[in-house]
Amino acid sequence: MTTMTLTREAAVRAPRRMAGFWPTSPALMLLTVFFVAPVLGLLLRSVLEPQPGLQNYVEVFGSTTYLRVFVNTFVVATIVTVVTLMLAFPVAWFLAVAPRRWASLLFAVILLSMWTNLLTRTYAWMVLLQRTGIINKTLMGWGLIASPLPLINNLTGVTVGMTYIMLPFMVLPLQSTIRSLDPATFRAASLCGANRLQVFTRVFLPLAVPGIGAGVLMVFVMSLGYFVTPALLGGTSNMMLAELIAQLVQSLLNWGLAGAAALILLVVSLGIYAVQFRFFGFKAAGEVE
C-alpha cells in the first residue's frame, strides 16, 4: 500500500515541474534555431570581425559619419513621435466621445490606412510629394509658391510619410484609454470647483498617461528602427540607422560594423520596451490589432 502510494506520487510529481511546457516546444525550437541563434551570431560578428576586439565599436562611436546617423535617427524619431501625438490625441478623444456613426466611420478610415500595404502608402506619398506632384502643383496653381518645394528625399518627406504610418499606432492605445475613463470622475472634479482647463490638465491628462505612454514609446521605438519609408522618402544626407545597417551589409559587406550598429539599435529598442513593460505591463505591446 505504501509503495503503491509512493509510485503514484512519483508519477504525478515528475511531469509537474514542467507541467504544460511541451506544447510550447515546437515554437521554441523554431525561434531558437532561426531567431535567437542568427541574431546572436550577428551580434557576435561585431566583436569577431575582421579580427577579435572592440574596433567596430570604436569606429561606430568615433566617426562623425556614423554619429550623424545616430543623431539623425533620434531627431526623426522624436519629431515623428511628437507630431503623431499632437494629431492623435484629439483624434482619439473624438473617437471616444463622438456620436457612434462618425466615430466608427473615422475608425474605419484609420483601420483602412493601417491595413493597406506599407509600400502602397509609401508610394502614394512619393507620388504626392514629388517635384511635379499634386501638392506642389496645387500650391503653384494657387500662386502660393513660385517654384516647387523640395518635399521629398529630405526630412520633410520622411516626417510626413512616417507620421502617416505611425498615426494608427498612437491613436489605438490612446482611444482605448480615453474610452475607459469614467465620466463621473470628470463630473466630480467640476463639482469640486475645477474649471474646464483644470479638469483637463489635472484629471484628463493624468488619467490618459498610460495610453500616451504606450503610444509614445511604441511609435518612438518603431520609428528608430524603420527601414522602408526612410529609404524611399528620405535623402542620402539624412540616413537613418536601419538604412545604415542595410547598406553596410548589402553594399559594403562590412558584417562587423553592421553587427555593432544592430546591437546598438537592439539595445536601445528593447531597453525602451523593458522600461515600458515595467511601467505599463505587456498590454501596450499587444495593442497592435
Partner: protein
C-alpha cells in the same frame, strides 16, 4: 463634461475639425492612388487628363508581376497555417502551463514583433547564406512565420484566457478524452481567436518587405519586393494599379472581418 460630446462647446468644433482633417490626411493618398491607376498620364498628372485601363493591362500582361502575386499568396497561406498551429500550441502552454521561466518564454515569443525588423532581416540573411536558404520558398516561410508568430500567439492567447477552463473540464467529465475535449469544445469556442490569428499571420507575411528585400532572389520575389525594387527606379503607374488591387483586397478583408464580428454572439 469633457467626455460628453454635446457639452464640449467650442471644443466640439475644434475636435471635429481636427478629426476631419486627420481622416482626410489618412484617406487622401489612398484615394489619389486609386484614381491615378485609372489615369492616362505616365507621369501621374492629377487630375488625370483622361481615363484608361492601360496600367492594369500592362500589369496583367507581365508574367513577373503575376508570379509575384502568386508567390506572396502561397507563402502567406503556408505562413498563416504554420503560425496558427505553432501559436495554438504555444498559447496552450502559456495559458495553462505551470513551469519555471514561463514569463520569459512569453517575452521571447513576442520579441520578433517589437524588435527592429532590419536586425532580424540582416541576421537571418547571414544565417541563410550558410544554409543556402536565401531566395527559397522554405526560407521565406521560416522568416515570415517568425514574424507572424507573435500576432498569432496574442490573438489565440486572448481567446484562450477568455475561455473558462471549467468548460473543458466539464467535457472531460462528460466522457470526452482530454484531446477530444479540446477538439470538440475548446477549439470551436475560441474559433474567433484562431480566425484572427490566421488573418493577422497572413497579413504579416503578405505585407512583409524588409526581410523579403534581403532574401529575395531574381527568381523568387514577393509582391512587396517587386514593388520596392520598381519604386527605386521610377514611380510607374503600374504600381498604382498594383496598389489599387491591394487596397481593394484590404477593403474586402475588412468587410469580411466586420461581417464575422457581427455574426458572433456578443
Amino acid at each position: 463634461m469633457l467626455l460628453d460630446f454635446n457639452r464640449l462647446g467650442g471644443l466640439r468644433v475644434a475636435l471635429s475639425a481636427i478629426a476631419f482633417l486627420v481622416g482626410a490626411f489618412l484617406l487622401l493618398p489612398i484615394v489619389v492612388i486609386v484614381l491615378l491607376s485609372f489615369g492616362s498620364s505616365r507621369y501621374l498628372q492629377f487630375p488625370p487628363p483622361a481615363w484608361t485601363l492601360r496600367w492594369y493591362e500592362e500589369l496583367f500582361d507581365n508574367p513577373d508581376w503575376l508570379a509575384s502575386f502568386a508567390t506572396s499568396f502561397e507563402i502567406a497561406v503556408v505562413v498563416a497555417v504554420a503560425a496558427t498551429l505553432l501559436g495554438l500550441m504555444a498559447s496552450f502552454g502559456l495559458a495553462r502551463g505551470r513551469f519555471p521561466g514561463k514569463e520569459a518564454l512569453r517575452a521571447l515569443f513576442l520579441t520578433p514583433m517589437v524588435m527592429p525588423v532590419v536586425v532580424l532581416a540582416v541576421a537571418l540573411y547571414a544565417f541563410f547564406l550558410r544554409l543556402q536558404l536565401n531566395g527559397t520558398f522554405v526560407g521565406f516561410v521560416i522568416a515570415h512565420t517568425i514574424i507572424a508568430l507573435p500576432f498569432a500567439i496574442i490573438s489565440i492567447s486572448n481567446a484562450l484566457e477568455g475561455f473558462d477552463k471549467s468548460i473543458e473540464d466539464a467535457a472531460v467529465l462528460c466522457g470526452a478524452s482530454p484531446l477530444e475535449a479540446k477538439l470538440r469544445v475548446t477549439l470551436p469556442a475560441i474559433r474567433s481567436g484562431l480566425f484572427g490569428a490566421a488573418i493577422f499571420s497572413f497579413l504579416a507575411s503578405w505585407d512583409e518587405v524588409v526581410v523579403a528585400i534581403f532574401m529575395a532572389s531574381p527568381d523568387l520575389q514577393t509582391l512587396p519586393v517587386r514593388i520596392f525594387s520598381t519604386l527605386q527606379q521610377d514611380l510607374s503607374p503600374v504600381i498604382a494599379a498594383v496598389s489599387s488591387i491591394l487596397v481593394a483586397l484590404t477593403v474586402l478583408l475588412m468587410a469580411v472581418a466586420a461581417i464575422f464580428r457581427r455574426g458572433k454572439p456578443a
